[in-house]
């Protein structure tokens, strides 16, 4: 109930901020790094609205599903962190909100008490703490911020010309957003949480790093090598994230991998925005901010809805493996319909909200091209290529999730619980908002700066796109009506199967089979493993009674970075732990030594 009210308030606040009602508040308490300050403008409004809407739906879904009371108790703190990040306007509030947002879901996963989720929670917490430390250091290093007694950040953009602070904040955003190569925690951590928490993490939390970059870094831009690197990393995430999603066999992990792809798309454009700001192209850099924030909102709606659907599927069947799911429309037509619409929204197809957002993202990309020289232009064209690969593979990934789970034959096991009618309500709420934005993009774009005026000079005809949605809808309705009124409802019959009995689940394509050509073509890049186990085979491997096949596809960073790093660090950490548990004298001696070292170093530090 508390989280519902909180989310509703956030939605209202976000809408008010978008409507042009800015606010600012300052605490009378002096605070550790200056007084606490909250500020809101249109940018905060978009991200607050994103978090609020996803929070609202997630709270609705969470109230329906049984969950551990400890997990339930943490939901409001998670929401509070999410809502505070876009409003924070001083270093202390921002870092505190960032930590609240990062730690709450980590604790929720830890409290789940499964071994697999504990490893995921650990990985997640390590990454998010590195991100938080980078953010804190970056904000503390921000020089000469007006109104900040200790030189720490106090709202607005970071002053240009201080590379260390900007780079640290950028690093914090890249890690927290799960941009490659900092992404390997995301497909581990997002799926193990309960469905509605996954929705919050993948729908709302991943938007916040993009907010951070827009708010702190974009106004002053960054050097072109850094900016182009960000764009390239984003493009790589978009392409490889979608391709990895095709290799993944778990419903929620596929969705999490597509999150990597979509965050990558946002960061690729943010990289272009940083470059444009560096080139003093303020109008187009502003358009980048609008496009990315709209993309974050519509992505949150679609991803939140699909994660809520995945949560319901998991709850009903106890299963998230796409190899064992299928044909669920027979058990809940509303959920199947919501999943299909969610797929259309996530793949950025008309007429849902993802469509105008993807359009303005791509259009802003193309508008930036003529402003660049041949070398940078070629790099941006390369990023466009990666984005397009991600779009093509992303559609296949969405089709795989939606069709593989809800269509085709029923595979084992049928739902243990009946899927209740209300299961589709919360995701349908998100998709209704998405549809409204898709059919009438002006609802959102009118409130983005330059959304109406400067975008009309850019190739982004949003009003007309909206009418396209209406028109297509109208044409469709007319055609369907014409077909049905002619008494042409098709007669139900057995499907054709070359004269054999009707095809069973063993003959029909699985979700993985649907994307098999992609997996074969890109196997050289992703290097999936192959693990085939045959059982009950009377004659060697020729007639197995049962078989098990898996193709674990590790992220490059796992064998290349993580495992060597852990092998290197583990003994050293063990030494430290021995000190921790050892005699108190040794402990005190080390503390004394560290103090002496700090005192010795003090005169050297500027």
């Amino acid at each position: 109930m508390g989280s519902l009210l909180l989310s509703a308030a956030a939605c209202a606040g976000g809408a008010a901020l978008l409507g042009g009602r800015g606010f600012s508040w300052e605490s009378s308490w002096p605070g550790p790094l200056g007084p606490l300050r909250l500020e809101g403008d249109w940018l905060s409004g978009v991200f607050l609205l994103t978090a609020g809407l996803v929070g609202l739906a997630a709270s609705l879904a969470g109230a329906r599903s049984p969950q551990a009371p400890r997990v339930a108790a943490l939901t409001p703190t998670f929401l509070l962190g999410l809502f505070a990040v876009p409003l924070a306007a001083d270093a202390f509030t921002l870092v505190a909100a960032w930590e609240l947002m990062s730690l709450s879901p980590g604790l929720m996963i830890l409290l789940d008490e499964k071994a697999a989720s504990r490893r995921a929670a650990l990985l997640y917490l390590v990454y998010s703490q590195i991100s938080a430390v980078a953010l804190l250091l970056g904000l503390l290093l921000a020089p000469d911020t007006p109104g900040a007694p200790l030189g720490a950040w106090a709202g607005g953009a970071l002053p240009g010309g201080h590379a260390a602070a900007s780079l640290l904040v950028l690093l914090a955003a890249l890690i927290k957003g799960g941009v490659m190569p900092f992404h390997s925690w995301l497909p581990e951590a997002h799926p193990v949480a309960p469905g509605h928490v996954s929705a919050l993490m993948s729908g709302a939390m991943v938007a916040m790093p993009a907010y951070l970059v827009i708010r702190l870094l974009e106004p002053n831009g960054m050097d072109s090598p850094v900016a182009l690197t960000v764009a390239l990393l984003g493009g790589l995430s978009a392409a490889l994230g979608a391709l990895h999603a095709l290799h993944t066999r778990d419903l929620k992990r596929v969705l999490a991998m597509t999150t990597v792809a979509h965050v990558g798309a946002m960061f690729s454009l943010l990289g272009i925005g940083l470059l444009l700001a560096d080139h003093q192209e303020a109008a187009l850099a502003g358009a980048v901010a609008s496009a990315v924030s709209a993309y974050a909102l519509t992505h949150g709606l679609a991803k939140g809805a699909l994660f809520l659907v995945a949560g319901e599927v998991h709850h009903a069947t106890g299963e998230t493996s796409l190899d064992r799911l299928g044909g669920l429309w027979r058990f809940s037509r509303p959920l199947a319909a919501v999943a299909a619409v969610g797929g259309v929204a996530l793949a950025a197809l008309p007429p849902l909200g993802g469509f105008p957002a993807e359009l303005s993202l791509l259009a802003t990309f193309l508008a930036a091209l003529p402003l660049l020289g041949p070398m940078q232009g070629a790099a941006v064209l390369g990023v466009t290529f990666l984005l397009a690969v991600g779009a093509g593979a992303g559609l296949a990934a969405v089709a795989k999730v939606v069709l593989g789970t809800f269509h085709g034959p029923v595979r084992a096991p049928p739902p243990a619980h009946p899927i209740p009618r209300g299961a589709a309500t919360a995701p349908a709420l998100l998709l209704a908002v998405s549809a409204a934005v898709g059919v009438l993009p002006g609802l959102l774009w009118r409130h983005l700066p330059g959304g109406a005026e400067s975008l009309s000079s850019l190739p982004t005809p949003l009003g007309e796109v909206g009418s396209l949605g209406i028109l297509a809808g109208g044409a469709v309705v007319a055609l369907v009506a014409a077909a049905v009124t002619r008494g042409k409802a098709p007669r139900s019959a057995e499907p054709w199967n070359c004269g054999s009995p009707p095809p069973g689940p063993r003959q029909a394509y699985t979700a993985q089979g649907l994307v098999m050509p992609f997996r074969i073509l890109f196997a050289e890049i992703l290097r999936p493993g192959s693990d085939l186990k045959l059982q009950d085979a009377p004659v060697a491997q020729f007639a197995p009674g049962k078989g098990h096949y898996a193709d674990p596809t590790p992220q490059y960073i796992e064998p290349w970075v993580h495992q060597p790093l852990v092998r290197f660090l583990a003994p050293k950490i063990e030494t430290l732990r021995r000190l921790h548990r050892g005699p108190v004298q040794a402990y005190l001696l080390v503390a004394l030594l560290v103090l002496v070292l700090i005192l010795l170093a003090l005169p050297v530090i500027p």
Binding site: L362, L366, A388, A391, H407, L468, A472, P495, V515, P517
Partner: protein, 301 residues
Amino acid sequence: MNPAPQAAAALLLIAAAPLTVWAERRVKAWNQLRRGPGPLQPYRDLRRLWAKRALAPNTAGPGYASAPAVALGTVCAAFLLLPLSGTSSALGGGAGLLVLALVLALHRFLQAGQAFTTGTPFGGLGASRELFLGGLGEPAFLLAAAAIALKTGEAAVPASPLAASDPSTWLVLVSLTLLWVAESARIPFDNPATHLELTMVHEAMVLESSGWMLALYELGAAAKQTLLAALLLLLAVPLPESGATRILLVAAGSVVLSALLAAAESGIAKVRLFRASHILIMAALVAFLAGIVTYLERPGA
């Protein structure tokens, strides 16, 4: 920009779409020393199918019966993104090509969905290959749009054709032509004349469709081929700025292009799926090259 003539032009092109089927059949028949059907035969085929009652497999999910109409509706709406009867399109404005890419993606999603939901092996097979080839075509299309945006300032079909003296124009056209062949499900990507499971893509997806549903799918396929042929013509051929001549030339041009395609495909064999994917990747690289060449063509570069 008055939408009424644009809509009329779109309807005319959709109505002329079965003529492209006739042109192909006729050329192929000549090639095989047959006489071939008359121009009205594809229309008679459509009327025959439309009059028949359809069968829906009892394994198909909800919405199966409305899929053909929706799929046809998306293709029809896409015609409004081209400047058919005047210098600007009815919809899409300066981002028409991007909208077109996403509308075609929606069409692909619908087609694949209706095929997969039948639960038959053929449906899954067709859906799988359609998503694969279409997904690989997307980079080619978007990069061609990027090159056009660089040349003309907006990612839309320009009112006048691209300058034929620019090498990048030819690269864009090569890339889009390959894409047109792939999206039209023709040799070397797909062979609409066979029903071998080794080769089917589009035919596998509509294998369960019959009667009026099949008629709508067939019309949709012809319309999509005409749509992309019209795109190529608008980019490549100087046409009168407006009026009935423009649209009639586009319609006649798509029929001629289809005849040329039929003549070309009579001489080559369908390639296997993983060679077809290489052709599409090549198309994307050609479009990428077009973008880079455009930079070099700019004054002062």
